[in-house]
Amino acid sequence: MEKGTSLWKDAWHRLAHNRAAIVSLFVLVFILLLCFIGPLMPFVKSPTAINLSNTGAAPSADFWFGTDQLGRDLFARVLYGGQVSLLVGLVATAVAVFIGVIYGAIAGYAGGKIDDLLMRFVDILFALPFLVLVILFALVVDNPASLFTDWIIAKTGFARDRVAPITTLIPLFIAIGAIGWLTIARIVRAQVMAVKKQEFVEAAVSLGLSRPRILFRHILPNVIGPIIIYTTLAVPGIMLLESVLSFLGLGVKPPNSSWGILIKEGADRMEVNWLLLFFPSIFFASTLFALNFLGDGLRDALDPKSAKD
């Protein structure tokens, strides 16, 4: 395992020398802290307190980002909305990538009939009408989700306001995870198929290593670059998918919000009050820029061949 340790050490070393990646890392950590720790500060207002006599106000010392069409503090809404979007971006993406990598790796490595069967299944899921599935899922999940919320509240005694925003996201994670893995599975399969023909795999086979060991220890690390790139590319789509699903009643319930929802509302009002679009978009875009540059940095750092540079 000595070799492995030095590989990670090398990778970290290379990452630390990539300025864009390091700046991105700091930006991400800053946004994460702001969204998850920030709301605990006393000066952050309630994101749902409506004041119809102070709607669409400009930014001020009191309301840093101004107020929305119902007089709510936009700064607070962006922070709380960030919690939802970041959670969705992390958890749902993780679920999708996890399923996709394992599925794709097995299909690509097994090949033959198993590969055919697995990939035709992916084809079917890919072509199934997404919206139909979502509507059906929303129908099925509606009661269990609220029962689960009640159960948690009864068991833990936490306030509903703290439990419900998290528990209502669970169906969202499931829905996005269940659909989002398809593309990643395809990519991983193609990469695994390409790598498994290389000499080092044949060497491992002739050494008599077990198939799972070859797949997960020797093949997957060699396709990690494309996986990272696709993962970071998939996050924006997944974060926006949340706003679509929430709109269909699966996920965030008003008056709670997310970046996607805030941006949609802001886009509708952009010519009246462009700040409503600007602030959530800045947070959303900087997160994604940072994430993608970090992704590229990771790819470069983990690239086994770049060690020779």
């Binding site: 990539n18 300025r19 864009a20 055919d116 990939m119 035709r120 084809d123 079917i124 890919f126 072509a127 199934l128 009408p129 997404f130 919206l131 139909v132 599935l133 509507i135 059906l136 129908l139 593309t183 395809r186 193609a190 670059g225 494309p226 790139i229 970071t232 590319l233 924006p236 789509g237 926006l240 996607g260 941006i263 949609k264 886009a267 952009m270 010519e271 679009l277 978009s281 959303f284 875009a285 994604l288 820029f289 993608n292 540059f293 590229d296 790819r299 470069d300 690239d303 061949k305 770049s306 020779k308 540079d309």
Partner: protein, 306 residues
């Protein structure tokens, strides 16, 4: 070789059959029906409307009737809520629009994404790398429902020669194609960069470099072909995504394309239209995969034997 092809076509047919069957039952499991309306339809009228479309029959009867119409008469059925409109008409009218828009925006994506990605790879970890990627990534860091209206307001309202929306003159294609193209440009740039970096660190490139070949020549002559494979492989799925997933762009720019039907058919419970669209889309996907596999087999002698 022929056996492989027959095998693959057989797989495709089975896939489509499973797809059609699944869709048939899934759409009918949704809450509501094509006849669910804000003003409730009286029971005796509803009965008559269902008789006309056959939706009054038990599910198995409906299913076999659908299969029969599909296979024997090549009939995809009617659009239920639209008086006298066939599903096939909707597909035939909207697909060329989506196809044209798709080709144009893929073109834009290629012209923006590939150079940006290649340049970023060649000038890895420099300001050029950063700027190229940043520019290419705008398309995914801002949602299309922001970029579209922004383009419409600044370019469409600002320039006399561009309309903010519509689909009547070639000028109307520009803004939606840019919006759609930018999304894919981001993917292509990132994939091209990654792919190029993989190739540039290969031994034969090092050898060429050691021999003193000029860098531009190395990139164009040797690296591009291999380095662009991931990006090129992405074009197929991206194109399929544009056909079914361009709802937002179509509504922002008022385009009579196919994406809106994928959404509206589901929310309107247009059973036959959803089934028809899914079958059509599935056919495209299965067909594209089949072609890709066959091309691979034809190009790779080792696979041909097995």
């Amino acid at each position: 070789m022929i056996r492989i092809i027959i095998n693959r076509i057989g797989q495709g047919i089975i896939t489509l059959f499973v797809l059609v069957t699944l869709t048939f039952f899934l759409v009918r499991a949704m809450p509501g029906s094509p006849y669910t309306e804000e003003k409730a339809i009286p029971a005796h009228t509803l009965q008559r409307m269902k008789e006309y479309t056959g939706l009054d029959q038990p599910l198995p009867v409906q299913y076999f009737r659908y299969l029969k119409n599909l296979i024997v008469h090549q009939d995809l059925g009617d659009v239920i809520k639209k008086d006298g409109v066939k599903v096939s008409e909707i597909i035939a009218e909207s697909f060329p629009v989506s196809f044209g828009l798709g080709v144009l925006s893929i073109g834009i994506a290629l012209m923006v994404g590939i150079p940006a990605g290649v340049l970023a790879a060649v000038r890895k970890n420099t300001a050029t790398d950063f700027i190229c990627l940043s520019a290419a990534m705008i398309g995914i860091c801002l949602p299309s429902f922001v970029i579209g209206p922004l383009l419409a307001v600044f370019a469409g309202l600002g320039l006399d020669s561009l309309n903010v929306a519509g689909w009547s003159s070639p000028g109307d294609w520009i803004l939606p194609a840019i919006t759609l193209g930018l999304i894919n440009a981001a993917y292509l740039a990132r994939l091209a960069r990654g792919g190029m970096l993989d190739v540039l660190s290969q031994d034969y490139i090092r050898t060429a470099r050691a021999k003193g070949a000029p860098p531009t020549r190395i990139v164009i002559r040797h690296a591009l072909r291999g380095g662009l494979i991931p990006a090129v492989a992405f074009i197929g799925p991206a194109f399929a995504g544009m056909i079914s997933g361009s709802f937002v762009i179509e509504t922002i720019f008022q385009i009579p394309g196919m994406g809106q039907h994928f959404v509206n058919a589901a929310t309107d419970r247009e059973f036959f239209l959803i089934q028809g669209l899914v079958l059509f889309y599935g056919f495209l996907i299965v067909g594209a995969n089949l072609l890709a596999d066959l091309a691979q087999i034809a190009l790779n002698p080792r696979l041909r034997k097995s």
